[in-house]
Subunit: 207 residues, 4 copies
């Protein structure tokens, strides 16, 4: 799928195939959405949440950005894309779960570890992945044998912590109405690791 | 798919089904991604780009936020999620196409038209959808019979215009190395409308 | 409804049903008609204006021909069916609105795109749809992804333009006594799209 | 129904009412039309064929013009709206029946009897209803006690005769594949009169 013609061809396959089986579902979804799960994932082309969870239309409210990052609460009236989606998901859709999903070979994590030495991405990616600065320092200080992998996981911790800095998230979690989760996907082996909330450890999901 | 158990069950279906067929592809993608197409879509659970285009892993670099918005170029060293993804896609991945895809029944567009009167989303969504202010005014002045639909399309125009405000996007477009596209998905009928770049009109894609 | 017996049966249903409720209205209409709206629609059996607008008897003055076409003003004393109806509607009935309504899957538009290669309709349809020639060329040059759909809309533009070539139409429009409108009906989804006069874009009518 | 707002309201009633019951039929009709009956009727707002025959979408291919006239066969490569519809109906749709339906109080017939003395309709209606000249002369010579009514019927005879001047109509009729019919609708009493093909007399349809 390199050209727009191929993209459109993809849509035609969808129409003739998957859509044909789901036409009634789409018709019903035309009335509104009520997903229970919000997914915060990376923009990376290889870690597609709806594929990985075999989700049907209407099931996942999905935010995707570089390195699946959630910035901390910053109510300054300015433009905050992730925060907007979060506010909508928690306050309007009233989702029950938020999953932050990282993945192997993340370019944003790589940029964080490279420390801003790539001028091609110096204007926006470098400031954006500064959200990982503390996590990166922790990883480097820990003497990790695989800083890329460790920061992919540590960055998820950062996003989970930042999620709790939003008063409406904290309140819903405290009230038992919302749960926060972490996950990491190994592209090479198609393997999902799920964060154990009580140990903080990521565990390979058995099949 | 309401619970985390069901989400994990979805992953197991993926492992046993789609993944089993694509294991070799994932193994190869473990080495790196090289998508040609960037998709900027809404977080809405009902308009999943990889479904709609029947895309395989590795084919679409996907940003998703409320109302598929692209803010204008603002190089102030602060956090800019969409701009980061854009910079990465154009300067590192060197994608050939960027598609802004809207959809029917968009909650962000609804919020723009409601003019900020919903306190539940007043902290972040209201400022975020202020990106649509000019488009909304145009729509309301045009006497549109369906402002929701019209603003869904007009918002895509805004995002396309904002994309061109990024010097590296403008340069790639001028050099003929990058094309910008608009699309809109009718959830109820599963119907894709594609923006004709020369007329600006959205055309139903024939099947 | 395949036979004349069934057609007559239909009339008997009308007499016993709808007519019984509207007898007083028909009695009154026996005195004369004074519709405010003229509809120019296609002869296609699937896009019936009075159904689509739930119109009562006496409300719509309706012209129907292949592809809802209006030829340009040609005062040569010869036979001009659409022009006659137009003259009667504007000068005698003094309608306030003229709506040109196209629809999906239009056979006349198809014939225009096919370029006259069907001998079955070469004697009359081919010359008739030559009214669409300019619009067809515009559509093909625009690189439309769906020329059939685009020409259905573009043909409406042609008819609207041709309407204005009639001096008595132009005069009434200039005087603010007459308005011209465009509409398009999606048979498959029973969906009406209404032309926004200020933007030229067709908007799905919300229900 | 005087304004566009009311027209659109009518569409919304259709969507919520009749359409809701016929959605499956419309969906199927989206694939194509195959009506067996062509109706040639007047543009008059009070004689709506689909109402009078309680026809469902897809059942009637309908041409409407001033005074339900069919011009004679004139293969000169120029614009012929009725002939085009006829060619399409007979050669492509292969309809089995063509019904020419007149009605009471026809303005076109009135114009024919007035002999062209109304300048408001002198440019197009006067030449158009010259198709009725021979019939009008017959009526006037017959000393008819009600020339308006008589010419409404006589004009149907003219259209039926002209239909047979088209070689493809004549051929289909001779082959027994097509039948031509006449009908007349009394608006005031909602009464259908059906032409007896062997006597040429119009008979009130019993209910």
């Amino acid at each position: 799928m390199k050209t727009i013609e191929e993209l459109i061809e993809g849509y035609r396959r969808f129409r003739g195939g998957v859509y044909a089986e789901q036409a009634a579902l789409y018709r019903e979804l035309g009335e509104g959405q009520s997903p229970s799960i919000m997914l915060i994932a990376c923009a990376d082309s290889r870690a597609e949440p709806s594929d990985i969870f075999a989700a049907a239309p209407g099931q996942l409210f999905v935010v995707r950005n570089v390195a699946n990052l959630v910035p901390p609460y910053m109510p300054d009236g300015k433009l905050h894309g992730v925060s907007s989606a979060l506010e909508y998901a928690v306050n309007v859709l009233k989702v029950k779960h938020i999953v932050v999903m990282g993945h192997g070979g993340c370019g944003g994590v790589q940029a964080s570890l490279a420390g801003g030495d790539n001028p091609l991405i110096g204007e926006f990616v470098t400031p954006w992945v500064s959200l990982l600065d503390e996590a990166r320092d922790r990883v480097l200080e820990s003497g990790s044998i695989n800083p890329q992998f460790s920061l992919e996981l540590e960055g998820i911790e950062t996003s989970l912590k930042n999620l709790l800095s939003f008063p409406f998230v904290e309140k819903a979690v405290s009230a038992g109405e919302l749960e926060l989760h972490g996950a990491w996907f190994a592209i090479k082996h198609g393997e999902l690791h799920w964060r154990n909330a009580s140990t903080g450890r990521f565990e390979v999901v058995d099949r």
